[in-house]
Symmetry: C2
Subunit: 406 residues, 2 copies
């Protein structure tokens, strides 16, 4: 048996679980007899191009810390690989580095755009007859990847969102006055994160009272009617709204502040602030808007244990299958049952995943477009279960950090 | 010995520790032989005026849950008591209710405005010769009360702020590009909360790199120079800024969006957004602003154990002293030493506390006005130590809630 080396990189936007997947890849890399050295690429595929490769051996005994560290331990990039026909020299450089470091296994942990990279690199390897397994490991807080029941990082974000809304409900209920709290939640095109706010409901609090998702056209007049109706029978109304809600013409509600990133994604801010001013003008009661912002994707101190454990397992599975000879796949999980919650792991061909977005089925949204159904709740509930034991030092969570010097 | 009844209320804005103080008051109330029944006033002094009084006996065995529940279990109010000369009938009504429920001990947990209520009520009781102990128990995330080393609720807010900034630093450091993150933190006049962001610094991260407090005039031109200088030697600059920063004329930087509440407090929003647009225009790199907003004061899931334990003890102390015959006081703590951290409990006369604000000493801010000193760090560090064991149910923190029906 000829041993080969393993290389792993991380790409795209941060989540709380992406280092758990990294820890799973590393763990199996250190364990499998087919794998010799275990390397990490700094800043994803850019680290490969720039030959910024580091030996992961020093972290062999720190995988438990790594597992609960937010964001990307190895750094990230938002580098979109050109088509091989348009960027031959880039592909040649990447495979030159693979060859120099004797990489037989390459793992890329990321979302849609990262799976596009896996698709292109595995296709190129096949074309040139280069013997390497190139595998994707999924992550994204947005939960919008195809071919997987849910994505690592989503469950922890959902737990943060639901916990925060419950805590803000306690904060809101204390005054004897009419008020509206609008919570703006991430999600440009898919409303999964905003939908997860529904998990905040318990036996004493039914907040959020209104939920608006990008999957249904948003009508500001209907929104004001909804809020008015809620205010008739309760003092405090809590609204969960996706940053990506659009009007019936498909225009973002917060269109005035939109920008476009290099993948052509429209970047938004200000949906909550805009709705705040709408309610102030139309109803005139106390209104506050809160944008949960980046803490949704990096608050590891309240990570979901289910999420972290699954993320690590998806990393391990990818290594096992790569060593068995598979390539051009993404490790995935399929749900066997909601209650008791059970999943199965397998591999999905990358072609069906890259550049696609999974949206919420219309039948999981109520007819009025201001709430979700019981099916949605059954789907979401298992994903936020369990808490990680995060170590603390000097009163703060103790995370692992890769020095810039490496 | 004639037994008398105890009444407790909560007032002002929420904190994570105000129910810990309530649990301390209740615990001692149930324990002291001098106290017969233990009552709670719904929505502070308004609950007394409206005779909305509830028996706390059913919660006797749930004080541990109460201790980690955010916001006000009994509800709050923002009711400013008139001078006795201008609102005689209001005082008469309050003391009529005290008399009807045979209240011999009244505790009011709150901040500046609540201590004003304690001052007025204890003065009135003395004037009319009514035998009652009226005591204040401090709380405020702002840490701006006089006569106390620090206020309950502040340490937990500080822990949330520092942990969030550390997590956002992980989120920010992953890209190889110049960027600025501006974190807007609560605090209209006192910069204690913003200063506590300094605790996020550790051996691998020196964020926040710039800290701006309301205690020093803010110059936008100097701010842009500061950011530019930081960007020269690092890729990511993280800025902590108080919502209440003002220019050299004393005008709020976010003056365009200010409102005034019924106590004459100026309510702000938008300082971070304003600075974001300044940096975008002047420097042009990627800029993001995050407003930590109400989660600073209600994120009980990451409460400081030091804070919660002290808050409970301040509640207990107030009951002990009231039973001993003191009145018109606020329970306080004095720091004996930083390391090892030790405090002593005593009583402070209310007159020196009500309507005053404690600001950061100028010598704890660096000369450039963009950082804090080592003295500040030594002061802050002990306050965020330790974690509470918060129970979880269905993946969410399990808190205690007083039904609206009671």
């Amino acid at each position: 048996m000829k041993k080969k080396n393993l290389l792993v990189g991380q790409s795209g936007g941060p989540t709380v679980a992406i280092n758990a997947s990294l820890s799973g890849v590393l763990e199996m890399g250190f364990e499998m007899p087919e794998v010799d050295k275990v390397y990490g690429a700094r800043n994803g595929i850019q680290g490969v191009l720039e030959e910024h490769i580091c030996d992961m051996e020093p972290y062999k005994n720190r995988l438990a810390e790594l597992q609960v560290t937010p964001s990307m331990f190895l750094g990230s990039c938002r580098y979109k690989l050109p088509e091989p026909s348009e960027g031959q020299e880039i592909y040649e450089k990447i495979f030159e580095v693979f060859s120099k470091y004797q990489i037989g296994y390459f793992f890329y942990i990321g979302g849609n755009d990262s799976m596009d990279t896996v698709l292109k690199l595995s296709g190129y390897a096949e074309k040139i007859g280069y013997d390497i397994a190139i595998m994707g490991v999924p992550k994204t807080i947005d939960n919008d990847l195809m071919e997987i029941d849910h994505t690592p990082g989503f469950g922890s974000a959902a737990k943060y969102i639901a916990s925060s809304i419950l805590e803000m409900a306690h904060d809101t209920y204390i005054y004897q006055m009419k008020s509206v709290l609008i919570v703006e939640i991430m999600g440009r095109n898919a409303g999964w994160l905003t939908a997860s706010s529904v998990l905040a409901r318990n036996e004493y609090s039914d907040a959020p009272h209104l939920i608006y998702l990008p999957e249904k056209p948003f009508r500001t007049s209907q929104f004001i009617l909804d809020v008015r109706r809620e205010l008739e029978h309760r003092d405090q109304v809590i609204v969960a709204v996706s940053e990506g809600i659009r009007d019936t013409e498909g225009m973002y509600i917060s269109a005035q502040s939109s920008r476009v990133d290099q993948f052509g994604h429209v970047m938004l801010s200000g949906t909550g602030k805009y709705l705040e001013s709408l309610v102030t003008d139309a109803i005139g009661c106390k209104v506050r808007s809160v944008e949960l912002n980046v803490l949704q994707r990096c608050a590891s101190h309240i990570a979901s244990k289910t999420d972290i454990q699954e993320a690590a397992q998806l990393g391990r599975e990818a290594v096992k299958r790569a060593v068995e000879g598979q390539t051009g796949c993404m490790s995935r999980l399929t749900r066997v049952s909601d209650d008791p919650y059970m999943v199965e792991y397998s591999m999905a061909p990358i072609a069906r995943i890259a550049n696609e977005e999974k949206k919420i089925p219309q039948e999981w949204i109520n007819e009025a477009g201001n709430d979700v159904t019981e099916d949605m709740i059954s789907y979401l509930k298992p994903l936020i279960q369990g808490e990680m034991s995060v170590p603390y030092e000097n009163g703060l969570p103790k995370y692992l950090y890769l020095s810039q010097k490496e």
